[in-house]
């Protein structure tokens, strides 16, 4: 047996498999560490190159599966979108039998801009990509940078007409006198060509930086959210959007003197997966508001406020910063929400707004490093979170290219690392462990040795299967569960 497990201070259970090495304080709903529950992950693919100095444009800024998981889109800081498609034919031949993802299409979605009127530099970085459900042979996705949202159509061409009467296959005109019979031109297969074209550009509706877009279940409308406003758009109409939320503030302009009065901003927003009138948005103060568009046009009054009560005497300089929610996601069944703040992931039941029903610690060992994390700005990193297709598991990223998986049913969790060390097919990823103090065991890594430049901010879970995509700076890792 390996070295004895490190105890959780104050708690010891003989049923404990491996002790939780982070966090001394017993926390409600604390997840016992273990082998990650029933899911075990194997390396499938990695996209991207290894570079000593990472080119900034290559840094992946979003990852998103489409509705059926056949397509996987990535956006990067250079404003480019790359779409991968699951291998159609070689399904059985793939390493884990599930098919691999290969490049399907790529295009330049956004370009850098300079707003001369406001002296504002607009980055081309793609903040979010959201797919529309497929209604015809073409695929549609929305991509956004800080200011402008674009609707892209991705279509295939795999046939071309051949057998014309007046010209030959090379396009050269035939001598009419040599034509003795008529033929009907037919479509012949050709090498697949995938074309992406911008169909709509939704601009000039956001004063601040867009942090979220979310397609409504009606597939006709979508919302876009910036720090202080949420707009509702119709996919067909670009010159009109309806502001469904406008945070009323004392501040009208962005003069630095007045900024100190600002207390709360919108950090993320999402439509309910099935109720087309319901959306939620999260704030920098750690609260979530659920709004119903049926009740009023301007949803300043929320229908529900989800907030965990906090003891005001327990507030520190960092309290509010680390409670800021960086991502909010509805469960597939629409009954729950997960929110990601700096140190944890919380599950909320839509029927209970007083507190989360589950809290999972992502990297509690960082609480005693907040000073340094504030100094190097890491405390402001915005991590995303994701549900598994069956809503049983939750995934989120951390530092040192680690990512965390939580099994809500077994209450087990695991830390895995996205790296090129374990790339043998069918080899299960080895769980990683961070040691926060005291004796460091073999294979454990000390908190002080973590690489805070290797952040996993963006991850995505296939909508129905156990395939995950993990963006590690400029590389995209795809893992599949071992069957």
């Amino acid at each position: 047996m390996s070295s004895p497990p490190k105890p959780i201070h104050g708690k010891w259970s003989i049923f404990q498999k491996k002790a939780n090495s982070h966090g001394n304080k017993p926390i409600s709903n604390q997840v016992k560490n273990g082998n990650g529950g029933d899911l075990q992950w194997c390396f499938s693919q990695v996209k991207g190159v290894i570079e000593e100095d990472v080119t900034e444009a290559d840094i992946i800024s979003c990852v998103e599966y489409n509705d059926d998981g056949e397509l996987l889109a990535t956006g990067d800081k250079g404003g480019r979108v790359v779409i991968f498609q699951r291998d159609q034919e070689g399904r059985q031949e793939g390493v884990t039998g599930r098919g691999e993802y290969n490049v399907y299409s790529t295009f330049q979605s956004h370009e850098p801009e300079f707003d001369y009127l406001k002296s504002l530099e607009v980055e081309e970085k793609i903040n979010k990509i959201r797919w529309l459900k497929r209604a015809n042979p073409a695929h549609f996705l929305l991509s956004t940078n800080d200011k402008t949202i674009k609707l892209w159509k991705v279509s295939e061409r795999n046939k071309r007409p051949e057998g014309y009467n007046l010209k030959d296959d090379a396009g050269i005109l035939r001598d009419p006198s040599s034509i003795t019979s008529l033929r009907v031109p037919t479509f012949k297969p050709m090498e697949l060509m995938v074309e992406a074209s911008p169909r709509r550009v939704f601009a000039n509706a956001h004063t601040y930086h867009i942090n979220s877009i979310s397609v409504n279940s009606d597939q006709e409308t979508y919302l876009s959210a910036d720090d202080l406003r949420i707009n509702l758009w119709h996919v067909e109409i670009t010159d009109q959007s309806f502001t469904v939320l406008d945070q009323c503030l004392d501040i009208v302009d962005i003069k630095p003197a007045n900024m100190e009065e600002l207390t709360e901003v919108i950090t993320a927003a999402e439509f309910h997966p099935t109720e087309c009138n319901v959306f939620v948005y999260s704030s920098s103060k750690g609260s979530i508001r659920l709004c119903d568009m049926r009740s009023q046009a301007l949803c300043d009054q929320h229908a529900k406020l989800f907030e965990e009560p906090e003891d005001p005497t327990n507030k520190s300089f960092f309290s509010e910063i680390i409670s800021s929610i960086s991502d909010v996601k509805f469960s597939h069944n629409g009954r729950y929400l997960i929110t990601r703040d700096y140190l944890s992931v919380k599950v909320w039941d839509l029927h209970m707004d007083s507190k989360p029903i589950e809290t999972y610690q992502v990297h509690e060992y960082l609480r005693s490093k907040l000073c340094s994390l504030y100094e190097n700005d890491c405390i402001f990193d915005k991590f995303e979170c994701a549900w598994s297709g069956n809503d049983r598991n939750i995934m989120t990223g951390s530092y040192n290219n680690f990512f965390r998986m939580f099994d809500r049913e077994s209450k087990r969790d695991v830390t895995l690392e996205a790296c090129r060390d374990n790339m043998k097919p069918k080899q299960v990823l080895k769980p990683r462990k961070v040691c926060s103090g005291g004796k460091r065991k073999k294979d454990e890594i000390s908190v002080d040795c973590l690489d805070f430049n290797k952040k996993i901010l963006h991850t995505a879970w296939h909508p129905s299967e156990n395939i995950i995509a993990v963006a590690a700076t400029n590389n995209l890792y795809i893992y599949q569960s071992k069957d």
């Binding site: 926390i27 530099e121 520190s316 490093k369 504030y374």
Partner: protein, 132 residues
């Protein structure tokens, strides 16, 4: 790993006690707030002028991201200092680096401002993987 014999359990429990003793038997477990307050103390020690709470600075930074500042008076003065008008010698590499990386904080010059990319490169995610 998953099931331990009674012997192993006893052994690990004893070691547990030892570990606890190593740390500090008298000191109670630090609460989350304690840890945060310790970190706050560290920060305030380093930056005595720090105004709290930290969220205000965070929001200010967030809203003003992307803002660039330019003063034509300063710009012309700086240009004059650098050796005179359009015929001025090229900016020394170190100076250029400083200007490029801190537009908004230092006086920009036409040579130092990054121009719109004319040819856009392909994503490296397209590179063929060297493994299956």
């Amino acid at each position: 790993m998953s099931n331990m014999s009674e012997e192993q359990i006893t052994r690990t429990q004893e070691e547990t006690k030892e570990n606890v003793n190593d740390q500090n038997p008298q000191e109670p477990a630090k609460t989350k707030t304690d840890l945060e307050n310790d970190e706050e103390a560290k920060l305030r020690a380093k930056y005595p002028g720090l105004k709290g709470p930290g969220s205000n600075a965070f929001l200010q930074k967030r809203l003003s991201r992307g803002q660039k500042y330019f003063d034509s008076g300063d710009y012309n003065m700086a240009k004059a200092k650098m050796g005179g008008g359009a015929a001025s010698k090229p900016v020394v590499p170190t100076q250029k680096l400083i200007l490029q990386t801190s537009t908004g904080e230092a006086i920009p010059t036409p040579e130092a401002i990054p121009h719109k990319k004319t040819h856009l490169t392909k994503s490296k995610l397209l590179s063929p993987s060297n493994l299956s």
